[in-house]
Amino acid sequence: MEPIMAIAVGCLYAAAIYMMLRRSIVKLVIGLMLLSNAANLLIFTSAGMTRGAPPLIPVGAMQPEGIIADPLPQALILTAIVIAFGVLAFAVVLIHRAYNIIHTDNLDQMKDTDT
């Protein structure tokens, strides 16, 4: 399972960076979205995947038996998804406002504040 996930993560990063390098501001946001998803999947993969072993302690026992799936990465990913969601909502509103004010979605034409 891990090799497939690793390839998927790599493809997501590549797609994200490709999208971010495009001129359009909408594609930039799509790139950011893919990037945060890639990072989430990376956490999931690198923390190790265990199939069919929920982290449950049997009745009467003080600790789980055998190898169990690590629940912490999923908690991390959940937090990261929520944060990414909020930030992306902001980014979408920002590009909408920016489009209304600058009247273009081309990043090449947003050079006024550069030197």
Partner: protein, 501 residues
């Protein structure tokens, strides 16, 4: 239980919430904002005092002992940073009384400002690497919204760059956390440090270290990752620029100090050597960028970049004296840089522009303001007896002792070029005659309470600069204490985990 560790986070969060509750009344928001920032300053001083007594102050959130729960840890560096946050909070809150326009206030200026402060304080105090990520995001979201208050074209363009590069940095940070967790299986920074020191040092650790360096390097605006900063910092409302200039990049620097003294300290010949070159290029590109500028706040923005280089130099040399220099530099820089931005705001209030070509005549009509400008400006350039002289002196002396000749030479040269930029501002905005096309009627406005609210923080911060310059010993002792702690990560690990590594 040590409530003082959590208070610098809780106080601004509470203030932010309360200002939200009185959304309709600007007056109440202002009062709450002042009270909240003073309370933050008091809480942070309490923390500093108790850190001075105990060394490390640790609090386990929810009673979950490390490494299972989230830990808040304050060592001397965190405490110093939190106190500076409190000082800047008060300065900016007072300045905002008069500088924030009603339309900014209506769109949540004060709640956002305090949310930002909570994010900054949280980043300084957390002992958990994932929690650090969360606080970074709290800080970022608040800063995004603050930056675009007003919604002008330049702000939108600046914000697009600021948001993109900061989200990129967050994604890299998150990926690095994921890989690190896969390697050591823990998130508590002390526990990570302990486990990494026990396992074999492989190439993967260096890869993760460089990922952290890139992520924090973007936040800290280090070379070659600083381009978002000069593109965005000069666009926001001036009080916001000042707050960002003082605190936000320093969160990145703090994170670099924390991570590269505590966690990735096994192969300094690779990581810290890399940082050394990053520091040299950061200094030189920042100061050369400033030399080409003719806008008050843009010059100052580029100088943030070059000053970050000095702090990184302190970290990169990785000797006790260099770390002292780095910490001292951070303290000096936050005060001075915020002050310079505030003064640019006063100049804007008087003459309605930030363009140096249109500014002028400030020395003739406002000699006191000019002196208030000279103190932080010359301090930034490193002239004795101001705070910047001692900050630079310690860093450069550490460079000479470490025999890093090239970088030390660069640091000295950059000091000279900084002086050039500051003199350019002095000559253009203060010394030369007011250009004919500029409307100079604002120069003669009377000292109303509104103008006094702009002057007050500037005077206090300039006094702090003078104090550090003339009576640097207690500040140096604090920096020395924090350097001792940073160079001895075993103390941090023992304080958090309760075991000797």
């Amino acid at each position: 239980m040590s409530p003082e560790v959590a208070l610098p986070i809780i106080v601004p969060l509470m203030t932010g919430t309360l200002t939200l509750l009185v959304w309709r009344s600007n007056m109440l928001q202002k009062i709450l904002s002042i009270i909240g920032s003073i309370a933050l300053l008091i809480a942070s001083i309490w923390l500093l005092v108790s850190v001075k007594e105990q060394g490390h102050v640790v609090m386990y959130m929810g009673g979950w002992v490390a490494p299972y729960g989230i830990t808040l840890v304050a060592d001397m560096l965190s405490a110093i940073m939190v106190v500076l946050t409190g000082m800047m909070a008060v300065a900016i809150a007072v300045f905002s009384l008069s500088s924030a326009s009603a339309s900014h206030e209506r769109f949540g200026y004060y709640p956002l400002m305090h949310l930002l402060l909570a994010g900054v304080a949280g980043s300084f105090l957390t002992g958990d690497i994932f929690n650090l990520y969360v606080w970074f995001e709290v800080m970022l979201v608040a800063s995004f919204a603050l930056l675009i208050l007003g919604g002008e074209r330049a702000q939108m363009e600046g914000a697009v760059k600021y948001v993109t590069l900061n989200l990129l940095s967050s994604a890299i940070f998150l990926s690095a956390i994921g890989l690190l967790y896969g390697l050591v299986g823990t998130l508590n920074m002390a526990d990570i440090a302990l486990k990494l020191s026990q396992t074999e040092h492989t190439g993967l650790v260096d890869v993760i270290a460089v990922m952290f360096m890139v992520a924090f390097g973007i936040k800290a605006a280090a070379f070659p990752l600083f381009f978002w900063l000069p593109a965005s910092y000069h666009t926001g409302p001036v009080a916001v620029s000042a707050l960002f200039a003082g605190l936000l990049t320093k969160v990145g620097v703090y994170a670099l100090f924390r991570v590269f003294t505590l966690i990735f300290n096994q192969s300094p010949e690779f990581t810290h050597q890399l940082l050394l070159w990053v520091a040299a290029f950061t200094m030189i590109t920042g100061v050369l960028g400033a030399a080409a500028q003719f806008e008050f706040r843009r010059i100052l923005s580029f100088h943030i970049v070059s000053q970050i280089g000095y702090m990184l130099l302190g970290l990169a040399l990785f000797t006790p004296l260099a770390i002292i220099g780095g910490v001292f530099y951070i303290m000096h820089h936050i005060i001075v840089k915020t002050n310079l931005f505030l003064i640019s705001g006063i100049a804007h209030r008087l003459l309605g522009t930030y363009d140096l070509k249109k500014l002028g005549g400030l020395y003739k009509s406002r000699p006191f303001l000019s002196v208030m400008f000279l103190i932080p400006a010359l301090s930034l350039a490193g002239l004795p007896p101001l705070s910047g002289f001692f900050a630079k002196f310690i860093v450069i002396r550490a460079g000479i002792e470490a025999e890093a000749w090239v970088v030390t030479g660069v640091a000295l040269l950059v000091g000279l070029l900084t002086l050039y930029s500051m003199i350019k501002i002095w000559a253009e905005a203060f010394w030369k005659k007011l250009p004919d096309e500029t409307d100079g009627s604002g120069l003669n406005q009377a000292m109303t309470p509104s103008l006094a609210a702009l002057y007050l923080p500037v005077i206090i911060l300039a006094a702090c600069t003078l104090f550090i310059g003339l009576n640097g010993q207690p500040i140096y002792m604090m920096a020395e204490f924090s350097a001792q702690q940073l160079m001895n990560p075993a103390g941090y690990i023992e304080a958090v985990l309760g075991v000797k590594p």
